[in-house]
């Protein structure tokens, strides 16, 4: 099983992601955004950073990088595709996930560990986790405020497309546990099929005790297990 970790001009979390995947026993390789053939890979990760300088809107230009045609093809074939932070924004702009990420409600850049509650385990990012599990993961973003049209959001809720919600350490969802104003306290969203998903917090930064948490492991393990079972 081999994961492609896409590098856009301005990505900056790609090495952390590759390191974390390798520590967890998976193969992972960096792939430049101009690549047009990903047929040797079983899954794709779009890492965090500031792809193409975040010009126009976060992810707006990255979604037209040549590699995205291949990412879209794989997504439609059921391969596991995940976006972390800026990668989540790229997936939304590409239309592979619904909605958009706006500036945090209080206009502050947020850089601290937050708690996520796993809503269900039927997704590429939660397959190895259990419903209701609370994970402590660092959040590091300015545009993390998830929004969708009322109509889209209704469908997102009906289809159980929210996979992570911002929560208290106890797992309780409250106004104060939502750090950035996201609709439905959504921290992670999947497509209807569950093979494409994005989240704002950084699981790769919570994969070693020395980093203060290993709760990100179960998220990346979910992705690895998904690659093994997708059979693309």
């Amino acid at each position: 099983m081999n994961a492609a970790v896409v590098v856009f001009p301005g990505s900056n979390c790609e090495h952390d992601v590759v390191h974390a995947l390798r520590v967890l026993g998976a193969k992972a390789e960096l792939v430049w955004h101009r690549e047009t053939d990903l047929s040797d890979f079983d899954g794709v990760i779009l890492p965090g950073g500031f792809a193409h300088g975040d010009y126009l809107r976060t992810g707006a230009i990255a979604r037209f990088s040549p590699v995205m045609k291949e990412v879209t093809r794989m997504a439609n074939e059921g391969a596991p595709i995940i976006g972390i932070c800026n990668g989540f924004q790229v997936l939304c702009e590409a239309g592979l996930l619904p909605g958009v990420l706006l500036e945090n409600q209080d206009l502050k850049f947020i850089c601290r560990p937050i708690h996520l509650r796993v809503e269900h385990s039927n997704s590429v990012l939660t397959r190895a986790a259990s419903e209701g599990q609370v994970l402590k993961i660092p959040l590091n973003s300015y545009e993390g405020n998830y929004k969708a049209s009322d109509e889209d959001f209704k469908a997102i809720v009906t289809n159980h497309q929210i996979i992570f919600r911002y929560a208290e350490a106890s797992g309780e969802i409250s106004g104060s546990s939502n750090p950035n104003g996201s609709m439905g306290a959504a921290a992670g969203i999947m497509n209807k099929a569950g093979n494409v998903a994005g989240l704002m917090p950084h699981p790769e930064r919570a994969t070693d005790q020395i980093l203060g948490s290993v709760d990100g492991q179960v998220i990346l393990e979910s992705f690895i297990v998904s690659m093994e079972t997708a059979g693309v």
Partner: protein, 79 residues
């Protein structure tokens, strides 16, 4: 032809930049009810058929310059 594209956030989408500018203007003593900061993109497009040029600009807006989930756009010609 010179074309101007104005990209605005939809009315139901917050514009924190506008809110911040409004606050600063009020601090300066101006009475402003509301401020929205829009984007203005100037394009030079080959061709002299306004319909064809507008169609091109529209495609650019739909694909890249604006995101319909959060924005609307307006295309106008410059002399």
């Amino acid at each position: 032809m010179k074309v101007t594209v104005t990209v605005r956030r939809l009315p139901n989408i917050s514009d924190p930049q506008g809110t911040t500018v409004a606050r600063a203007l009020r601090d300066l003593g101006h009475e402003v009810a509301k401020v929205r900061v829009d984007k203005l993109i100037t394009l030079e497009i080959e061709g002299d058929d306004p319909d064809a040029v507008r169609a091109q600009a529209e495609e650019m807006c739909e694909k890249l310059l604006a995101n319909p989930v959060m924005e609307e756009y307006e295309i106008s010609f410059q002399p």
